[in-house]
């Protein structure tokens, strides 16, 4: 018998919440029972998507997947790991990195489930060399609307495979998957850091070709405009030998909701200044740091999203294609800096070739990601940024999104019709549905 509990789910940005009835199954048979007994349902992983991708609709229920967390098999010859969908990246890294195996693609937090990461087809700071997660997934097993568990791969129902990867949970419940791990030289990271005075400096840093450039990212002060537009700290990194303990335990817990005035343009400006001054070097400096320090700096404070107070925050993340970038990036940054809507974390990184999945977010270009405290006018401002992105041929990332429209989606994601066609075949009754899917016209709203 399955237990349904009442709970309130939110995205990581905590701007929208869904009071829903949710099951938290341990076994595949319990997942099957839950899906069978629910006319509408959605998988919810660790809720690290910022917007409404993981929020069930009013009429739908949720399956919390965090208890489906068994490692199923690992082949030390090939490095192929089979794991249930609720296994977290944290678990995979803690278990396999000390043995010399790494997840080839890492988002900015290790508190994501394998299933959630597949459903958003996540990417890391090494997309140009490694692609998105999809490139390293050999197969997925999905509980589909007809109640069966089907294996999808590049050779077994490939359309369903490419719809499930990056398919925001709409093809069914991923129950397990095979992930190709990659050999790692060690559990340390060699990071080279330097300051960039402005955007021109920064783009030059991104396009320079060092010997090894597996990972590259820049932390940007999004408030400075004019001559200092694009002032940033640029980091390049690769995995390095060394045996730093792999500790991804969430550290202290951010204890309370800060009042909404705590993060104001002044405090954020100060933060950015201090951070910039901290890396007081214009010349590249090399340091060797433990794995988590480079990859998951934010995981050190659990629930850091409470810092933005009860009203929550949005994250805007877009990719601007290379051809448009020289003109579009300064314009975009100027719009943001002039809006003074205070953004703490502005990150710039690169994407490479488009991935195989239908709703691939990637295209060769620059990714800009920043947080906006949710104040009056913020959603409207985000719509302006969406439109700008769309007009220059870019894309907005669904894992972060809460403001795109169905039209935006169609304009940004050219293979959307293929995705819809496969969805219609797999789930004609629209059993799997989310708030995002309704908003984006992928599901009926009734």
């Amino acid at each position: 018998m399955i237990l349904w509990g009442q709970t309130t789910l939110t995205g990581w940005g905590r701007t929208s919440r869904a009071a829903t009835s949710a099951a938290r199954p341990h076994t595949l048979s319990a997942v099957q029972e839950a899906v069978q007994n629910s006319p509408a349902i959605l998988a919810h992983g660790l809720g690290r998507s910022y917007g409404d991708a993981a929020l069930p609709t009013e009429a739908a229920r949720a399956i919390l997947t965090d208890q489906l967390d068994q490692l199923v098999s690992f082949d030390p010859q090939s490095g192929v790991l089979v794991a249930q969908a609720g296994v977290s990246f944290k678990t995979i890294l803690e278990t396999f990195l000390p043995r010399g195996w790494l997840i080839p693609v890492a988002p900015g937090t290790s508190f994501v489930t394998l299933g959630g990461a597949i459903a958003n087809n996540v990417h890391g700071k090494n997309h140009p060399v490694a692609g998105a997660l999809s490139r390293h997934i050999l197969w997925v097993e999905v509980l589909t609307a007809d109640g069966r568990v089907c294996r999808f791969s590049r050779t077994e129902n490939a359309p369903a495979f490419f719809a499930t990867l990056g398919g925001i949970g709409l093809t069914g419940i991923i129950v397990q998957a095979a992930l190709q791990l990659t050999p790692a030289a060690g559990s340390c990271v060699a990071v080279t850091q330097h300051r960039c005075k402005n955007l021109e400096d920064l783009l030059a840093a991104f396009t320079s070709k060092p010997e090894r450039d597996d990972y590259a990212v820049a932390w940007l002060d999004a408030l400075s405009g004019g001559a200092a537009l694009g002032r940033s700290i640029f980091e390049r990194a690769h995995i390095a030998p060394g045996n730093a303990p792999v500790r991804l335990d969430g550290g202290p817990v951010f204890p309370l909701d800060l009042p909404s005035f705590a993060l104001n343009p002044l405090s954020i400006r100060l933060f950015n200044k201090v951070r910039y001054a901290w890396v007081g070097r214009a010349n590249p400096t090399l340091s060797i740091v433990p794995h988590a320090q480079f990859f998951y700096p934010l995981d050190r404070i659990q629930h850091w999203n409470r810092m933005y107070g009860k009203r929550g925050f949005h994250q805007f993340q877009c990719v601007i294609p290379d051809a448009a970038a020289p003109q579009a990036l300064p314009k975009l940054l100027e719009m943001i800096s002039q809006s003074a809507r205070a953004s703490f974390l502005a990150v710039l990184k690169r994407l490479g070739q488009e991935d195989e999945n239908y709703l691939s977010y990637a295209m060769p270009g620059y990714v800009l990601a920043l947080d906006f405290p949710n104040s009056p006018g913020t959603p409207e401002f985000l719509s302006t940024l969406n439109k700008f992105t769309r007009d220059v041929g870019g894309r907005v990332y669904l894992a972060k999104d809460s403001t795109l429209t169905a039209d935006d989606l169609a304009a940004m994601y050219p293979r959307l019709p293929d995705f819809k066609r496969v969805l219609a075949e797999l789930d004609p009754q629209e059993k799997f549905t989310s708030r995002m899917a309704q908003r984006l016209g992928l599901r009926r709203t009734a």
Partner: protein
């Protein structure tokens, strides 16, 4: 404290987390429970997480044969042997008042069986002069409350037994840890109306148990249940009896 850990009630959420913690440290594991088929699905997971070996054993709380078989198994296991006890049930209080069988089952699985199993393993512990015993009690055993005093009574019995066992085994260098979880984030509490306090996380408890096992004593988890229970323990009877909790 590696060697072998016998996990009783291995299907429990708290036990599962502890078995994973022990696996991470390379322990040998014996998973004992009512449903070995289901436990077998944990086997490979625990091996992949680092367990030196994993064996499953059929164990129903009041079955003497199972207990005997377990003792024999323990004698063969890689020394030192340690024990983690997580068996327990928490039926509705009203249902237990009306149903003597249900009430007896609860006492047997929460208390009697723990006592009989430890008694049966006592010679082994006395002889190996190593290992540790971890018993899952509950804050409910600290003071019998209207809402769950039958369950609480079984846990209070377990607590008294743990104290005496610890005293007995202190001469043999075997620590006994009595764990008193508050409300934990497990299927036992999922979807129920819980007090407005942060739920304890099984992985967190497992880590603390692993570190504390060698020291023994009593452990409240999460920590804030200690002052809460202290306050409840000292509430004047007149007020206490009026409270509906």
């Amino acid at each position: 404290m590696t060697g072998t850990w016998i996990i009783l009630g291995a299907g429990s959420a708290l036990a599962k987390a502890f078995a994973r913690e022990a696996a991470k440290h390379g322990a040998h594991l014996i998973l004992a429970g009512r449903n070995p088929q289901e436990l077998a699905t944990q086997e490979q997971d625990l091996r992949l997480r680092g367990a030196a070996s994993v064996t499953c054993a059929l164990f129903d709380a009041m079955n003497e044969q199972h207990r005997g078989a377990l003792v024999a198994m323990a004698a063969q296991a890689k020394a030192p042997v340690s024990l983690y006890w997580a068996i327990g049930t928490m039926p509705e209080e009203a249902a237990m008042r009306a149903d003597a069988v249900l009430c007896t089952q609860m006492v047997n699985s929460n208390f009697t069986s723990a006592m009989l199993t430890c008694n049966a393993l006592l010679p082994l512990f006395e002889q190996q002069k190593a290992g540790a015993i971890v018993l899952l009690g509950s804050v409910a055993g600290d003071r019998g409350r209207k809402k769950n005093y039958q369950y609480g009574a079984s846990k209070a019995g377990l607590a008294a037994y743990a104290q005496g066992l610890a005293a007995h085994l202190s001469a043999f260098q075997v620590p006994v840890l009595l764990v008193k979880p508050g409300v934990m984030d497990t299927p036992m509490t999922w979807g129920k109306k819980n007090p407005p306090l942060p739920l304890g996380v099984p992985e967190g408890l497992a880590k603390v148990c692993w570190q504390r096992a060698a020291r023994g004593g009593t452990l409240y988890y999460p920590w804030f249940w200690w002052p809460i229970m202290l306050a409840i323990l000292h509430l004047p009877r007149k007020i206490f009896n009026k409270l509906n909790f």
